[in-house]
């Protein structure tokens, strides 16, 4: 089987964060960890090309995945594999999206990353197998990846025993009795000593390690970002008031303050009366400009990023966060003020 393997700029040997903005490209033959992977896959399979993209570029240009999969198909790919991405979030998201795009195009696909990689949720049901925490576990990670890839190539479904990871879908259905009766039954079970009975297994939430403080605010570029449903008056791009599936960006060039009638909040989770009376309450542009003039901050970024945090799924919120971080980093921003509502 002809296989195309995806790695990021780092594992392609192009450099670290300084090269994270590199765009997508296809290179002949295996590269980096692909060489070892090729030998593990044996003589029946060939890594015909390596698909590469910088992590920031991939995180801020969703279309990179479909583009690379199209190029891979032109190169004769019969299967696409991506990673291992370990716990690297943007790389994991890219691997998951590549695998999902390949599956969408009808190709067998597989990604590899650590179960705590925040990109895992982007796989959209495409198979992902477990890797180690860091590249120090490269050897064992590649072995597991190759074994699983051989199964996928043979058309087999992967299970947890093959190292398959990722959330299991929960779907709606009708219970025998109504929720009130079930709650009373649960009370009786609980009073009878059953401490495990529940219909909702409790989720584990990941912990985000804060970035290091910026060295000198007076020399840094600041961005204003918000989940307050903050948009130009009239909401030209129809940002959702609840369950947002997208984020928007608008220019702040030439503006000294967020004036009523010019900006508004479409957030459906609180009364927007006071936000609309003075939009600076959601996006503190007036104060940011004052601080810029005083020299307290180096410069204010020329646009703001916004979404609506109201019933938004964790998967979408996580994606917005990674896309914002990559976007801001690519534009040379050192600090962001996220006004939460």
């Amino acid at each position: 089987m002809k296989i195309v393997h995806y790695v990021n700029q780092f594992f392609a040997g192009m450099g670290g964060e300084d090269s994270a903005g590199t765009g997508p490209e296809l290179r002949d033959g295996p590269t980096g960890p692909g060489r070892k992977l090729a030998s593990l896959l044996g003589d029946d399979h060939e890594i015909v090309a390596t698909a590469i993209c910088g992590d920031d570029y991939a995180a801020s240009h969703r279309e990179f995945a479909a583009e690379l999969v199209a190029q891979a198909s032109e190169r004769g790919a019969e299967m696409v594999i991506a990673g291992p991405a370990f716990t690297s979030g943007r790389y994991g998201m890219a691997c998951a999206r590549i695998a999902a795009a390949a599956a969408e195009a009808g190709l067998p696909a597989l990604a590899s990353m650590h179960p705590e990689n925040p990109g895992l949720g982007e796989a959209a049901g495409t198979a992902v197998v477990e890797s180690g925490l860091t590249a120090r576990q490269m050897k064992v990670s590649l072995e597991g990846f190759a074994t699983a890839a051989l199964k996928v190539a043979a058309g087999e479904e992967l299970t947890a025993q093959d190292g398959r990871i990722g959330p299991v879908a929960r779907t709606n259905r009708m219970a025998e009795t109504n929720a009130a009766d079930r709650a009373v039954a649960l009370v009786i079970a609980r009073l009878g000593g059953d401490k495990d009975a529940t219909e909702i297994p409790l989720p584990d939430f990941d912990q985000v390690t804060p970035a290091a403080p910026i060295a000198d605010a007076t020399q840094s570029v600041f961005a204003l970002v918000t989940e307050g449903g903050f948009v130009p008056d009239g909401n030209p791009d129809r940002l959702e008031s609840a369950r947002a599936t997208k984020w928007v960006r608008y220019s702040l060039e030439g503006l000294e303050s967020a004036e009523p009638g010019q900006f508004m909040s479409v957030h459906g989770g609180f009364s927007t009366q006071w936000a609309n009376a003075d939009p600076n309450r959601i996006l503190p542009l007036d104060v940011a400009r004052m601080m810029e003039k005083e020299g307290a901050i180096g410069r204010l970024h020329g646009e703001f990023l916004a979404t609506t945090g109201n019933g938004t799924t964790v998967a979408d919120a996580r994606r917005f966060g990674m896309e914002w971080a990559a976007d801001l980093r690519q534009q040379g921003i050192q600090a962001a003020i996220l006004t939460a509502t």
């Binding site: 709606n172 709650a183 079970a189 964790v314």
Partner: protein
């Protein structure tokens, strides 16, 4: 008759609904006088009101549903039900109350902050709304020019309770289908059974997202204990129009399913009803939750069932209370909806409990469903959310179906892992 404590519920079942010259009730047939009802709804904030009927099985969709109320009356003139809005703000829940079971009066149309709620009277979504199983008198409205939206909201709330009382008055002299004796907590009959409380979190998050107890918002207050029989008499009236699937309309307070399930239980006693505000900030949520758990302790409860109204932030109002209850040695059960994303793979809860674990699920809010085209639309000719005609085939998340996931627990919708 429990003249001292408790309530006698005199039930008249509605099996047929239409508009006519006089408001009458006879042998399950409710006829509504359009002129009388529109007179009751008259208010300077409303330019016009229109009445329509929608019955179970109709090929009809109600769009933009606001509140829904079960008709009830304690006698001519409307006094004693919906205290603080219709009658004087004095404790209710004793004597006898006539209810029209199987009927509801509801308002549908635009209000600010009201997320469009949908009821299909037939088809796959009908099983997901308690108001698809009732004969509904639907009030459409046109606000008066220049009327503030707050006044429109208040006018509808006052109008709906008047109409609800008016409809039930038609049945005062009718032979009832059932007479139900509802005890107050502390009845000797319950002696020795485990004491279970109901914690009813009421959303208190500003205009159009508020719930009224004796006509007042609980906003800024601490939890309070009332008799479940006060709910039956309309002491709690909803003015909360966000999160359609998670909405608890007045109808569900009047017929509170967890209260009903505990009343029906042979194993445990319905021992208390604790009303709690749902504040907007974390510190207030913590205070209210800790205070509610202390009240439960003082009431010597063995267990409590907590419910919520509203979206993700209100998970905290249930989870914090469950954790504080468990710390007080009281078994805690929560009823929550899941918000696990369109494919059901996301974390199901926004704020899970950290000590308590016993949860009932009312299904995944984000899962989508397709509703077939219908012949007739009420409330609004267009669905703004989808930019489609209200009669079209539509695709929606469960989140948009009125009360589909109400944690007051009327429904059978739940969620589980695929096998």
């Amino acid at each position: 008759v429990n003249a001292e404590v408790g309530l006698t519920r005199v039930v008249h079942v509605v099996r047929e609904l239409d508009l006519g010259a006089r408001t009458t009730y006879s042998a399950g047939h409710l006829t509504v006088c359009e002129t009388s009802v529109r007179d009751l709804l008259r208010d300077p904030a409303l330019a016009e009101t229109r009445l329509m009927c929608a019955s179970p099985g109709d090929s009809a969709r109600i769009v933009g549903v606001l509140d829904a109320i079960q008709p009830c009356s304690k006698g001519p003139g409307g006094g004693g039900v919906f205290p603080g809005l219709l009658g004087p703000a004095m404790p209710v829940g004793r004597g006898s109350t006539h209810v029209l079971r199987g009927a509801a009066v509801l308002a549908a149309g635009y209000l600010p902050r009201a997320q469009e709620a949908i009821i299909d009277m037939s088809g796959p979504a009908a099983a997901l709304s308690p108001l698809a199983a009732t004969h509904n008198l639907v009030v459409e409205f046109t606000p008066a020019e220049d009327a503030p939206w707050e006044d429109v909201d208040a006018a509808l709330r006052r109008g709906l309770v008047k109409v609800a009382a008016h409809l039930a008055e038609a049945a005062l002299d009718a032979e009832p289908d059932a007479v139900e004796e509802l005890d107050e907590p502390g009845s000797p009959a319950a002696n020795g059974k485990p004491r279970v409380g109901v914690i009813l979190n009421l959303q208190t998050q500003g205009k159009f997202k508020d719930v009224f107890v004796y006509g007042r918002s609980l906003s800024g207050g601490l939890p309070t204990v009332i008799s479940p029989c006060e709910l039956d008499d309309g002491a709690v009236v909803s003015g909360q129009f966000g999160h359609p699937a998670l909405k608890n309309p007045t109808y569900l307070h009047q017929t509170h399913p967890v209260v009903a399930a505990l009343r029906a239980s042979d194993d445990v006693e319905l021992a208390a009803l604790i009303l709690c505000p749902e504040p907007v900030n974390q510190a207030d949520k913590e205070l209210v939750s800790a205070h509610a758990a202390r009240l439960c302790k003082q009431l010597k409860l063995d267990a409590a069932i907590a419910t919520k109204e509203g979206g993700g932030n209100a998970d905290a109002d249930v989870s914090l209370k469950m954790d504080r209850l468990e710390e007080e040695g009281i078994a805690a059960v929560g009823i929550l909806a899941e918000m696990a994303g369109r494919d059901g793979t996301g974390p199901p809860l926004v704020v899970p409990p950290t000590k308590a674990t016993a949860l009932v699920s009312t299904g995944n809010y984000d899962e989508r469903m397709i509703l077939p085209a219908v012949e007739r639309a009420l409330g609004s000719p267009r669905i703004a959310l989808l930019d489609q005609d209200s009669t079209d085939e539509i695709e929606l998340p469960v989140a948009a179906i009125y009360c589909a996931q109400s944690t007051l627990g009327w429904g059978r919708l739940t969620c589980a892992e695929n096998a």
